[in-house]
Symmetry: C2
Subunit: 152 residues, 2 copies
């Protein structure tokens, strides 16, 4: 194992840490289902945020704050489901092998998403401009994984 | 519409409030998928909590606090997916018609679950006994819906 791979492996282990130890028993199909569930809910709560950001729905400070809080929590949930055992699962998934071939880049993209979601949740309630700017920044991070690590 | 039904309807509208207004466009199949996704993740984070509670896994304060926080958020997510339009969906669901026939009881069961999850999240980090007691109380609320409102 070369040094880069080793450090990538270590970063993953450190990053996922206790999650892996708690879920080591889960079957690949279960892990796939769980990570997809997190993405389904990200979609549920991102939709109204994005419509407000685009001006397609009126800004609602309560919905904005609630959804941002949910997104911050949900943004942390998919990643421990991307363990190597899921690479060859027969479960229906659009995850590409690049995830495990380029773990540093994947982890960076996942980190960017989580960090942008945390920033959206940190916007003061009622700050419409700040919310829309942070929502735009969050939206840009989706492509980090969806462009390079997910089947079209 | 009699008075009981009216008040039940109002309670539902007030309780779900802006959620309904934000998701009114979602198709029944999407709503079913989203509420099931929330339950899938409740299962993901409840599993380790329950194993710690039962002494089948060693108590880990970090996992306990993290999962409790996630469960508190997730406990709020399924309910706006139980709108009447999903009653006759062709999507695979074990939701029983009793949900819409007895909305007060269903809402109470959902509220009990959310309240018990919030209490678990409020336990001080590292308080193993408090955590296990609150986890036991949370576990007891699952049956509130699963016994009466879900197909066996």
């Amino acid at each position: 194992m070369n040094k880069t791979l080793l450090s990538a492996g270590l970063a993953l282990v450190v990053g996922l840490g206790y999650s892996l130890s708690a879920f080591a028993q889960a079957k690949p199909e279960v892990l796939v289902k769980q990570r997809q569930a997190a993405m389904t809910l990200v979609g549920k709560y991102w939709g109204p945020v994005n419509r407000m950001r685009q001006g397609k729905a009126p800004f609602n400070a309560d919905v904005a704050a609630r959804n941002a809080g949910y997104l911050a929590a949900l943004s942390k949930m998919p990643w421990d489901g991307f363990v190597a055992s899921t690479k060859d699962t027969t479960a229906k998934t659009r995850a590409l092998p690049e995830i495990w071939e380029n773990p540093d880049k994947f982890k960076q993209a996942a980190d960017n998403f989580q960090s942008a979601a945390a920033k959206l949740a940190a916007v003061s309630k009622g700050d419409e401009d700040g919310f829309k700017a942070a929502a735009g920044a969050l939206g840009k991070t989706c492509g980090g994984c969806h462009n390079d690590f997910r089947q079209k």
